[in-house]
Amino acid sequence: MPKNTHDVIVVGAGHNGLTAASYMAKAGLDVVVLEKNDWIGGAAVSRELYPGWKYSNCSYVCSLLRPEIMRDLELYKYGLQIIPYEGSATMMKNGDYYTHYHDHDMTINSIRRHSHKDAEAYERYSRDVLRQCKIIKPLLKMTPPDLTSFKPKDLFGALEFAKHFAAKDELGGLGEKEIYDTIRFYTMSIRDYLEEYFESEITKAHLAGSAIIGTALGPCSPGSAYVLLHHYMGEVDGSVGSWGYARGGMGSITQAMMGCLKDHGGEVKPSSEVTNVITKNGKAIGVATQNGDEYYAKKIVSNLDVKRTFLKITEEKDLPDDFVRSVKNFKIRGSSGKLNIALDGLPDFPCIPEGDPGGGGDMHFTETIEEMEGAYDDWKRGEWSRNPYVDMCIPSKSDPTMAEPGKHYMSVFIQYVPFNLANGGWNEERKQEFGRHIVDCIAEFSPNFKDLINHYEVRTPLELENEVGLTEGNIFQGELTMDQLMFNRPVPGYAQYRTPLKNMYICSSSTHPGGGVMGAPGANAAREVLLDMNVPQKGNYY
């Protein structure tokens, strides 16, 4: 038996890789996780790039991480705590602002300032979106059935899937009309969807933000309504659609997962970039790393996106041609950038009155859907948006561990930023130019913002690809459109975490149910691996 033999190798120590690894280690397997960076966490990290300030360098807020996973892996015990948002606000050029709050009645009162009609429509809208969230919630933890298969597992799976769309009891009488609504919802643009409810531009713009974050779709693109749902289906302690911060930054999530993994005998090896999967007789038997080590295992689980998994570390000769073609066609387009900023104090945003909890969560300054679509138009031309949509927040307002009292960390997520920048692509100079542009945009709403900046980190899609390993810097590891969701994710016929290469699995966000710091793909993949290995799985809530 060769050295370095384990039951399972997980490639990549992102949150899904660590989730999968933890579940498998909990079930008693010998698991090793290989990570290319000298830190762990993938896109859920907290790094101190400027002394005294912790940044959530990539992902920055938490809602989608399944509570059952937190419970199963006892992430609390290993230091994870979620702090709910207080509110969110869109600032307006006329000095006014639009806010949502943690408290529903406060939100209604706030919307009423802009439109009495919208305030009441918001109740109807919330109900309808919540209904969609309830349909999708049980699907998150299911392995999508193969609709072309006649295996009992798939036939039952298909029935189970369908049941959640048609189950009357569970959803309080979901009828024909609601099923039509669901089908429309999954294929509509967010603009069209919101126009069925709201009249005021600011209400629509504020709500539409969730539909474009991370995607290469504009608010008028069909399918963008689903992206909104994807951002709404999470929860903070039963409050569906709520978002929160991970105390200590997003790295707390992956650190807690690592704590659980290690407690169950698992191992994580940083600075061990997997260069290729070793195969024998058409089966995956191990991996080789950049530093020349080889690891062997019964099962190999990839936390890399589907393109990196099959076009980079697996050889084409080991895979069917049509599969390779599907992988090449998988849409994974970078569209987002980010700034992480160390601030010497709290910036003033005169639009938001001091003490208004609306300023306690995400803040924006896009006032109309047209502006948003304009930002998308720039992206299509290969430029960063001149008038971008930003999702900015100051986690240190709520989290006392990100910076010392009085100092603040600000996270600015920017939509849209192309991976393939026109006129010669990204270089250091253009990256800095992009960073300065965003700082200028924010400064228009905050007179003292620039004076408070100690340091900032600029992240373009290119950095995200190079550092984190997300192809084109796409934060979801693949677009969240119907052609790439559920049984189509990552490619039709291979949506059950297994791959054409025997003993090779995939657990990344490229699989069902998709991106975001959710952990569901990792937990689902672990379940399939354990099933194939006949390892009993008991006592899990997920």
Partner: protein
């Protein structure tokens, strides 16, 4: 400031001008005859302040009794089940006390200033009970509920908040110790005590100083995630900490209409506070000794870790034969632990010898219909949440 209480049912606390200003919901309730907020904005955020930053709660309505006199120490030791004979000055002890039948009247905390001066804090009104019990002791008992303003300052950043407020070297104060400060010309007593199971303190001062104290603490905690904290959030934190609440988790002996509802300390998980071998007599000792010797304890109060995410409010607990074996007294989905937890009063041997195959019948309300959930429960330690920072000395500082 004496309030004119003619024709009024509820009193205002000395912090009322501040608590009512902070309230965005106008939700109040009656605590021991006072108007106090149940919720200022949203309970989730208030709860979070207690687990993430600093939470501030108006504690004034808590019953407070000063016990002064040459026999103060003997009297207190006679009153409670715990052996307090070696209690040091400037410390606080958690206590329960019983009636003659060994049934619990209430739990609370006792503050020792010296062997001739104590302060007792508790949930129910016991002025009358204290006076009756003091027969033959040289003590004077004064109800100081109205004359001492009290605040709970709890949470991981609470020590930093209070240091900034002026409590020098507070981090060296050990759990269950107290220290007197003079801040801005007012005497303030600070004890490292609380009801949240976390790092935390309680402040005791003159009502004249109340508003200024509130304002200055608010300023001190501005960068330390401070937030006022209502009764709903307190209920969440105390369940996580496994603290019991009189007339919720058990009926106070003096309040129970039905004698069978009275509980001995052993029945509510407070056996550890009963020191049958303490030298002096204490109220209820004979009955408790008999209960212990004859092993007649009927019930127990345990922690449950329950399947699913629907809180088991008021659920009946069953064994696998569907026989009724007890009831949930307090339940919640714990945001910090991501667990569905509850406190339950069970009929022994369930909860003590039999810890498996126990089920809660949960009625989950869903738009005027109930979904009946049959959820498996694990009997676990009642102290669900007990972070290291709670008892750490020196206390954690955020600077």
């Amino acid at each position: 400031m004496t309030q004119d209480l003619r024709y009024s049912a509820l009193k205002k606390t000395p912090f009322h001008s501040r608590t009512s200003l902070a309230s965005r919901t106008n939700k109040y309730y009656n605590w021991n005859g006072y108007t106090v907020p149940t919720e200022y904005s949203t309970t989730e955020l208030e709860y979070t302040a207690a687990r993430n930053g600093t939470s501030v709660m108006d504690l004034t309505p808590m019953g407070k009794y000063e016990i002064i006199g040459d026999h103060a120490h003997q009297f207190v030791d006679y009153l409670v089940t715990r052996d307090l004979s070696k209690m040091k000055d400037n410390t606080v002890a958690y206590i329960i006390w019983c009636n003659e039948d060994g049934k619990v009247i209430d739990d609370g905390t006792i503050f020792k200033f010296s062997s001739t001066k104590f302060m007792l804090c508790c949930a129910v009104k016991i002025y009358n009970w204290l006076n009756d019990s003091a027969y033959g002791f040289d003590v004077t008992i004064t109800d100081v509920t109205d004359t001492i303003a009290a605040l709970a300052i709890q949470g991981p950043t609470s020590c930093s908040t209070l240091k900034k407020f002026g409590a020098t070297d507070l981090e060296t104060l050990k759990p269950f110790e107290m220290r007197e400060y003079n801040i801005d010309g007012f005497d303030i007593l600070i004890s490292r005590t609380g009801f949240t199971g976390d790092l935390g303190y309680e402040l005791w001062t003159d009502p004249k100083n109340a508003e200024m104290t509130w304002d200055n603490i608010e300023i001190a905690g501005k960068e330390l995630k401070l937030r006022p904290f209502g009764m709903y959030a307190l209920e969440m934190t105390r369940i996580e900490a496994g603290f019991i609440q009189t007339n919720t988790d058990f009926m106070a002996a003096e309040d129970s209409l039905r004698p069978t509802r009275m509980r001995s300390p052993y029945e509510i998980g407070m056996g550890w506070l009963v020191h049958l071998n303490k030298n002096s007599y204490f109220v209820g000792k004979k009955a408790l000794k008999k209960e212990k010797e004859e092993n007649t304890t009927e019930r127990c109060l345990v922690g449950l870790d329950i399947d699913g995410d629907k809180p088991a409010h008021g659920s009946v607990i069953y064994n696998s034969k569907k026989e009724d074996i007890g009831i949930v007294t307090a339940a919640l989905w714990s945001p910090i632990m991501k667990k569905n937890i509850a406190l339950a009063s069970l009929k022994r041997p369930y909860g003590i010898k039999i810890k498996e195959n126990i089920f809660a019948e949960i009625y989950h309300p869903e738009e005027l219909e109930y979904r009946k959930i049959w959820a498996r429960c694990k009997v676990v330690k009642r102290q669900f949440f007990n972070p290291e920072r709670r008892n750490k000395v020196p206390a954690d500082l955020y600077e």
